[in-house]
């Protein structure tokens, strides 16, 4: 009797929990629709490729950008002359502004449309969205494109060099160290074991493999033509990852700290690009564009450079507080998995149920093309909210040199 009662209560719990969750007044305020809102009418990305081996390994950044722009214009039927501004988030390609401008012109965007590039490392894509959203809010623009792009194959992180005088300051020196070192420092400082890191890595790999199998990424990938091939699927997800296979991997940074980071519990290295089209709500309605969601706002913070991975622990509460939200008000979190060490520590410190975080896997499984990730999190999170018919997305990432960023988006679309 008691077993069946427990079973029946459990069966009805998700129905009641989901249905009866009354939205807080803060959420209700954010759900309101005003003519001056910054809305997203299109959010898609290229397929991603494994660095050095994958489908994008030979594709230069200008070509990737240009083809994504061309495919997006075709798909949205947007007259490119109506674009008021473009921002591209990208980290390491040389002369990023020149190649971005060239890519836009080659994609058929008229020379009257200006462009800029933004680099705040792993948050660059989010910063591009933020820059365009702020321009629209300020009245400088009505329609803008935000892109994120990175070829980790062709442009890996160049080693920063400091002058002797600057390097004397410990934190200054910490700020330019390799990311793997910061991962080991977080693992050491907070005692994040190899087992725990592998546990969180396995969640990412498993969820991504299942999402891939269920075709979820097809909702966010815009097939693009590159070197005469139509590419429509990521080649980065590795189905079949197990706890045993993760446990068998050798440390990649044996020289630092506890040496717990492996190729299986660090973010994958990959290439890719994504694009978000933003405009004022009244303009979107005038243009007859379908509205997918709404930009709410963001927060950027600084943290100790040596422990760069803890950025979300400061950034997420900062953005929630700005808009009067509790973490329970958020339906999905997309928190970047730079390394399982920092991700595990962030998840457990923030005390958010893992069910709400990266429901279709994160950068550990999907890869982390630096400039793309901030854009991808918005695309992936909004796509999952559409699928669930839910509303509030919070994206966040740690940022190299010791920073964090977070943003809130609202889904308004149905699948």
């Amino acid at each position: 009797m008691s077993a069946s009662l427990a079973r029946r209560l459990k069966a009805i719990a998700p129905i009641l929990a989901r249905s009866a969750s009354s939205q807080s007044s803060a959420v209700q305020a954010l759900l309101q629709k005003n003519a001056s809102d910054v809305v997203i009418t299109f959010a898609m990305r290229s397929p991603m490729g494994k660095a050095k081996k994958g489908q994008l390994k030979d594709v230069p950044v200008d070509e990737l950008l240009s083809e994504l722009l061309r495919a997006s214009l075709e798909k949205t039927k947007l007259d490119p002359a109506k674009i008021d501004d473009i921002a591209v988030g990208t980290c390491h390609p040389p002369s990023p502004l020149y190649i971005s401008r060239a890519a836009a012109l080659a994609a058929g965007i008229p020379d009257s449309v200006p462009i800029s590039t933004i680099n705040r490392l792993c948050s660059s894509g989010l910063m591009a969205i933020r820059s365009i959203a702020h321009s629209i809010q300020a009245g400088d623009a009505e329609i803008g494109l935000a892109l994120g792009v990175e070829s980790m194959t062709l442009h890996p992180r160049p080693t920063p060099m400091l002058s002797e005088g600057v390097a004397k300051t410990t934190k200054a020196n910490d700020a330019v160290q390799p990311m793997g070192w910061t991962s080991e420092m977080v693992a050491e400082a907070y005692g994040i074991s190899r087992e725990k890191q592998d546990h969180y890595a396995l969640i990412s790999h498993t969820r991504a493999a299942e999402a891939l199998q269920r075709g979820f990424f097809n909702d966010e990938i815009l097939p693009i033509k590159l070197s005469d091939k139509i590419l429509a699927q990521d080649d980065t997800v590795r189905p079949g990852v197990t706890a045993q296979s993760l446990a068998g991997l050798k440390p990649v940074f044996p020289q630092w700290g506890p040496a717990t980071t492996t190729a299986g519990n660090a973010s994958g290295v990959g290439d890719g690009a994504g694009l978000v089209l933003l405009m004022r709500r009244d303009r979107a309605e005038k243009e007859g564009m379908e509205i997918l969601g709404k930009w709410i706002g963001s927060a950027v913070v600084g943290v100790e450079p040596k422990l760069m991975g803890v950025g979300p622990i400061k950034a997420i509460p900062a953005v929630l507080e700005r808009f009067g939200l509790e973490k329970e008000d958020v339906d999905i979190f997309e928190i970047n998995e730079a390394f399982a060490s920092q991700f595990a520590y962030c998840v457990e410190t923030l005390d958010i149920p893992i069910e709400k975080i990266n429901p279709n896997g994160g950068s550990i499984a999907l890869t982390h093309p630096l400039g793309l990730t901030g854009v991808r999190q918005a695309i992936t999170g909004l796509s999952e909210l559409r699928r669930r018919n839910e509303s509030v997305l919070c994206t966040s990432m740690c940022v190299g040199s010791g920073m964090g960023a977070a943003a809130i988006f609202i889904n308004e679309a149905r699948r």
Binding site: R18, S19, G215, E384, N389, R415
Partner: protein, 354 residues
């Protein structure tokens, strides 16, 4: 001008017994059956009610007979071959067959009991093609095919690794069944295909088609009565979707598509959003190919059209219930008559105007 007055729905109450499902008789246009449970189906007895329409009487509906059961009743299906018989699915996993005419005393016993499901049996459906056959599904993940003549099930299909909430025969093809589950998938099985579990550790039959229908639980499905392989689903994500599954390969091809099992797919033809809580039941009109009704935990029953190019796909909202609406079913004889039942212990029968 005052708004047009709609007559109030015909209405009958079953105090203390919350409704789980209703079914119209395929033989008599004024008879229906109601599956219900004490304590909202969480613990305690079940009761099957036989109800008839009495045009002209005070509330228009009369409870003719009731059968009590040990555990809650979650679904009911009328026999397609015997006008007085009907099968019920019970919380203790048992399937029972009652005969309305065997009328000895209050709380009459069933004429057959099958007890093979190990968890709650949640739906029963009688084949309207092979009229001696019916089917049940259970939270242990299986579908079972039965005939009243045999003491044991004819076939067991291990359909899902999670609760199966509903399983229904295709109204067009005798060997094709569809099921939906807490795992979020809609599956179509060809019962002629041998039940070859994929492996000992993954004992699930190979579906001819798996539709990843929702990121959350799928609670209900229904086959369109006019278009073959059009299936509506509803569930915890509050949305009703209509799937075109005509790409399915059947018969000898059904389980020959390599490892991993069957085809995966299904084109989402319609997306009907509006319910504010989970969708508990969907039912296509037997008279119109584009019309379906849905019952929801938001305490409404809604009527939708899947026609393209209409101003709104939502045609009508029935909000007379004061608790979760658990069942809705179109009359098989009188076009446009709908029955709804709910946890407020009220059965409504009415003609929605749209």
């Amino acid at each position: 001008m005052p708004p047009p007055l709609h007559p109030p729905p015909l209405n009958v109450q079953t105090p203390g017994f919350a409704h789980y499902s209703l079914a119209w008789s395929p033989f008599h246009n004024s008879r229906l059956a109601l599956a219900s449970s004490a304590n909202y189906g969480l613990v305690g007895n079940g009761r099957l009610h036989i109800v008839s329409l009495l045009p002209g009487s005070v509330n228009g509906l009369n409870i003719d007979k009731q059968f009590d059961t040990q555990d809650g009743l979650f679904d009911v299906a009328w026999s397609e071959i015997h006008e007085n018989q009907l099968a019920v699915a019970s919380g203790d996993g048992s399937i029972k067959l009652f005969d309305v005419m065997i009328n000895v005393r209050e709380g009459d016993l069933p004429i057959r009991i099958w007890h093979e499901h190990t968890r709650e049996a949640f739906s029963v459906d009688w084949s309207n093609i092979r009229k001696d056959q019916f089917m049940s599904c259970s939270w242990e993940g299986s579908i079972k095919i039965w005939t009243p003549e045999l003491q044991r099930s004819v076939t067991t299909i291990p359909a899902h690794q999670a609760c199966v909430y509903q399983a229904l025969y295709s109204p067009h093809l005798p060997d094709i069944v569809a099921s939906c589950s807490a795992d979020g998938t809609l599956r179509i099985f060809d019962i002629r295909a041998p039940v070859s579990a994929q492996s000992l550790t993954n004992p699930v039959a190979l579906p001819a088609l798996t539709v990843p229908g929702s990121a959350t639980e799928l609670l209900t499905l229904d086959w369109n009565k006019y278009q073959q392989f059009y299936i509506a689903t509803g569930g915890v994500d509050k949305v009703i979707r209509v799937w075109d599954c005509r790409m399915i390969r059947l018969g000898a091809d059904a389980n020959s598509s390599g490892p991993g099992g069957g085809q995966i797919g299904g084109a989402c033809e319609a997306y009907l959003a509006g319910h504010e809580y989970a969708v508990r039941k969907v039912n296509w009109s037997p008279h119109r190919a584009d019309v379906l009704a849905s019952a929801s935990y938001d305490m409404t029953c809604r009527i939708w059209t899947t026609k393209q190019g209409v101003p709104s796909s939502l045609l009508y909202i029935h909000d007379a219930h004061s608790e979760f609406v658990s069942g809705c079913a179109w009359s098989l004889y009188d076009e446009g008559i709908l029955g709804t039942c709910a946890w407020d212990c009220r059965l409504n029968v009415f003609r929605p105007e749209f």
